[in-house]
């Protein structure tokens, strides 16, 4: 039996980051994937980043995560979202060439020492004495490990819907992890269904580009990673919109949509609704915008962002033909919805470890999130935690007061999810401090302490903090950064220092809140049987028991927990 420290199941964004992070710590790591050639696939839109999401990518990069570097080397269109708004909500976003992106991820994985890629289907978690001892593959082969990360994405019990058609699978044309799904249910984990969707893909050679409005790539150069990378040629995107006729066509097909017929029981993301959902919910809007995003430099495929759908193929064909510029357009692959299992993330601790099976970790869509960036960030956390646990080290810890990663982990593990969780800057109380431009300053020390960064990265962190301190000393009142740049300070450092100064009064006020929160965090709760605490409602007992808050401060953040309940919990904790 082959022996590893850590096994990662799943080769999506969460799995790749988890495997790479674990291996960077020095743990002997296996990445089990059904298709090694699909590692790093962008299953849905060919873009990385955005508002909130871009913050996550920059944070990942500080820990030598893969996503930022792969996005930089595959970017064919750059756009800094919210450029006209404050720096704290600016969201770096790129469109990536799909093939280049996957190639970049695969080459980084191959170059990671101590990481083996195992092409097989992971059927079963081997559990001995309540902790994982390895993984059994579809052929019966067993791999041993001290820690296992499950990052199965939409493949866990995945089922694809398109009109009246259904098929089993996490991505069209690929299989699903059904036995593993059944095992997780059997282990007594709280499993429920969520759904997500993707639009039809178009043949760009059949689009009438001349009639469309263009959106050029940013002229200013910026990148996700602090490490240098090659730069691809830039291409423009085009914008078109739905018409009243498009809406009529969609309405005519609603009764055949699995979303409306009740075939899909899982809740979809409110933030990324299907086009049929948009037409249904915002009936008064005459038109919806569609961004036509090329999927690659040498690939004619175009991703029409804004019309995710699971309508039958004939309706999809008709609706595309009703859109200006797409009248003659050929669909290369119809859109579909996918429904999949997710595990209630309240069963996880702040290292994404399953409390019920210590040594096993969950990351990505299995925890009820949506989005590549959310998945990758969880992969980093789970990989660092599993690797550190297998190596007997203390894992890095992410706090909601200093990182979006921390916000997401805290939200997931304390509140759980009722719809696919997407990162939004509104989720971060401290967003004026947690900007995409200051990730190194926020997390540099934590990253270096985690043991997961290369010497080159450590040097970049140190150099950046040094030049930032230098720039801070030179910053004069009223300087918008130009004076600093004139004195030889790098423009991105000058911008960061100016943004710090802009928000300083607010950030200082928030520091008081953080201190107050930490006071509450100092009151540890341990394991309390909430059923025995007098005065708690059944709903509170359910929420507290699921989330098992470790401190009074955590308990206070759980929705619906009242002051009287907190006092009762405090008294129970002290008398325990």
């Amino acid at each position: 039996m082959t022996d590893y420290d850590v096994i990662v199941i799943g080769g999506g964004h969460a799995g790749c980051e988890a495997a790479a992070a674990s291996a960077r710590l020095g743990a002997r790591t296996a990445l089990v994937t059904m298709r090694a050639d699909r590692l790093g696939t962008l299953s849905c839109n060919p873009s990385i980043g955005g508002i909130g999401k871009g913050h996550l990518v920059r944070e990942l990069d500080v820990f030598d995560g893969l996503m930022a570097r792969a996005a930089d080397s595959a970017a064919i269109h750059y756009r800094m979202l919210n450029r006209s708004k404050g720096p704290a909500v600016r969201g770096p976003r790129v469109q990536a060439d799909r093939k280049l992106y996957a190639a970049a991820i695969q080459s980084m994985l191959r170059a990671t020492s101590g990481l083996s890629i195992v092409e097989d289907s992971a059927d079963r978690l081997l559990i001995e004495g309540g902790v994982p001892s390895g993984v059994e593959l579809a052929g019966g082969t067993r791999l041993a490990a001290r820690a296992v990360v499950i990052a199965s994405g939409t493949f866990l019990g995945g089922k694809i819907f398109r009109g009246e058609e259904t098929e089993t699978g996490g991505r069209v044309g690929e299989g699903a992890a059904l036995t593993l799904a059944a095992q997780l249910r059997d282990l007594g984990l709280a499993v429920s269904r969520l759904k997500t969707g993707t639009p039809p893909r178009l043949d760009g050679r059949t689009i009438d580009w001349a009639r469309l409005e263009y959106q050029a790539s940013d002229s200013e150069h910026w990148s996700f990673s602090a490490l240098p990378s090659s730069r691809q040629p830039q291409i423009a995107c085009a914008i078109t919109r739905t018409t009243p006729r498009t809406h009529d066509i969609i309405r005519s097909g609603l009764d055949r949509s699995p979303l409306f017929s009740g075939a899909i029981e899982g809740q979809g993301p409110r933030y990324c609704p299907s086009i049929e959902d948009k037409i249904h919910r915002f009936a008064d809007r005459e038109s919806h915008q569609i961004f036509l995003e090329p999927e690659g430099l040498d690939d004619p495929t175009v991703y029409p962002n804004g019309i995710s759908t699971s309508l039958p193929v004939d309706i999809q064909t008709a609706l595309i033909a009703s859109i200006p510029g797409l009248e003659q357009c050929r669909i290369t692959q119809p859109g579909y919805a996918v429904e999949y299992d997710h595990v209630d993330p309240r069963g996880l601790d702040s290292h994404l470890q399953l409390r019920a099976i210590p040594g096993s970790y969950l990351a990505g869509q299995i925890n009820g999130t949506t989005g590549y960036e959310e998945a990758a960030a969880q992969g980093l956390v789970a990989g660092l935690s599993a690797g550190a646990a297998a190596m007997g080290q203390t894992p890095a810890r992410f706090d909601r007061t200093s990182s979006y990663i921390g916000v997401m982990i805290d939200d997931l593990t304390l509140q759980g999810v009722t719809e696919p969780y997407r990162m939004l800057t509104a989720r971060a109380e401290h967003r004026l401090y947690m900007r995409a431009d200051n990730a190194i300053a926020r997390l540099g020390d934590c990253a270096r302490g985690s043991g997961a960064v290369s010497p080159a990265r450590a040097e970049i962190i140190e150099r950046h903090c040094g030049s930032k301190a230098d720039a801070e000393k030179q910053l004069s009142e009223g300087d918008d950064g130009q004076e600093l740049v004139a004195r030889g300070i790098a423009p991105h450092v000058a911008a960061e220092v100016v943004a710090d100064a802009l928000y300083r009064p607010y950030v200082q006020r928030q520091a008081i809140e953080i201190e107050r929160r930490q006071r509450d965090s100092g009151i540890t709760l341990g394991s309390i049987d909430y059923r025995r605490v007098a005065g708690l409602s059944n709903e509170m007992i359910e929420r507290l028991s699921r989330a098992q808050p470790t401190s009074l401060g955590d308990a206070a953040r759980i929705r619906g927990i009242t002051p009287a309940a907190l006092t009762a919990i405090l008294v129970a904790a002290r008398s325990a």
């Binding site: 009151i523 009242t562 907190l566 002290r574």
Partner: protein
Amino acid sequence: MQRFCREDAPGTIYALSSGAPPAAIAIVRISGPEAGAVLCALAGALPVPRRATLRHLHDAAGARLDQALLLWFPGPSTATGEDLAELHLHGGRAVVRAVLDAIGALPGCRMAEPGEFTRRALLNGRIDLAQAEGLADLLEAESEQARIAALRMAEGGLSRRIGDWRTRLVALAAEIEAALEFGEELDDEALLPPAFDRALAVLHEEIADILRAPSAERLRDGFRVVIAGPANSGKSTLINALAEREVAIATPIPGTTRDSLEAPIAIGGTALLLTDTAGLRETSDVVEAIGVDRARAVIESADLVIWLGAIEDAPPRSVSVHGRNDIPGREATPSGYALGLSALTGQGMTALRDLIAAAASAEIRSDSLALNIRQRALLVDAERALAGTMTESDPLLQAEHLRAGRAAFDAVVGRADVEAVLDGLFARFCLGK
């Protein structure tokens, strides 16, 4: 602020647990690990547990402070669950001050926060939450208005109001957040709907209006009635008559009252705080001059001033009263005065009481929610946050102001901050309980 429930040392706390001096006796309580050491330092040696012992108290320099009755309760079977000591002192202000100062100078000792003795009792399992709240209720509600306001609060009047405000504020915040998160995806030019500014202003005004009502402390401590006038105009005699006890020393000598004296009384179910002041006059006496300055400050903060001087000198918010009409030549009340009276004969006193009661009940609106200091401070935060939103143009900073406002609402009903929640409960206790 040091907290008992955290890892760091709980510390030893002390406070005057009886009413404000001067009084016949004053009881000082000391609770915590150093309570025994405090007794040793002050009285030489620990007395026999749970038995009253008479001892002389000395400070660190050896100066004698008082002769006191000591009680020593070793923990944990005590009211607070910790080592506990009580000193029954002579109730003069100087004695109490000196003993408190001497304890405060000892290592590990600090003045208790309001409610901290009860808080320790709760956290050490000596009483449960219901008992703690019952105690708080018992200690409060001295007047009919306070009782009604407290009742309205208990029935959730404030929570409902806050709930409504919070819902509206969240709706406003959601507009801004949508613009921040999805402004790039939505092609609408106008970021915020036209009704946004108006809805914001209406919400702000409602909160500002609530803040104009008197506070719970005001209801509980009473409507502040200040008796003022020139030296020797009969102020002290009048306060003694109103209080029906000897609050102030009344003599025919001008300048007898040199400091402001307070006396809580109730008239017709309304709690009042009567304050006697030094007579307003030019004086070369340094102490009396300080008293006169204090009198002016007290008059400033009064809800109602009973003015015993000349009409033309009457301060704002005052009623002019023609006093001492028992003195020959002062029998007739000159025009312009609200009434004439004699504190000695009692003539006109009923009319004065009615006048005070009417002024007090006009001030205290019957529909108001009585906010305590904590709630008021948080609503002031919320009000400022909304005002900040109205003057800010950057949507991101507007959102930050609204977030602060929401946090303030949450803190009022105790959603967010545990420490604040506990403080909220225990702030209801008087110091030393």
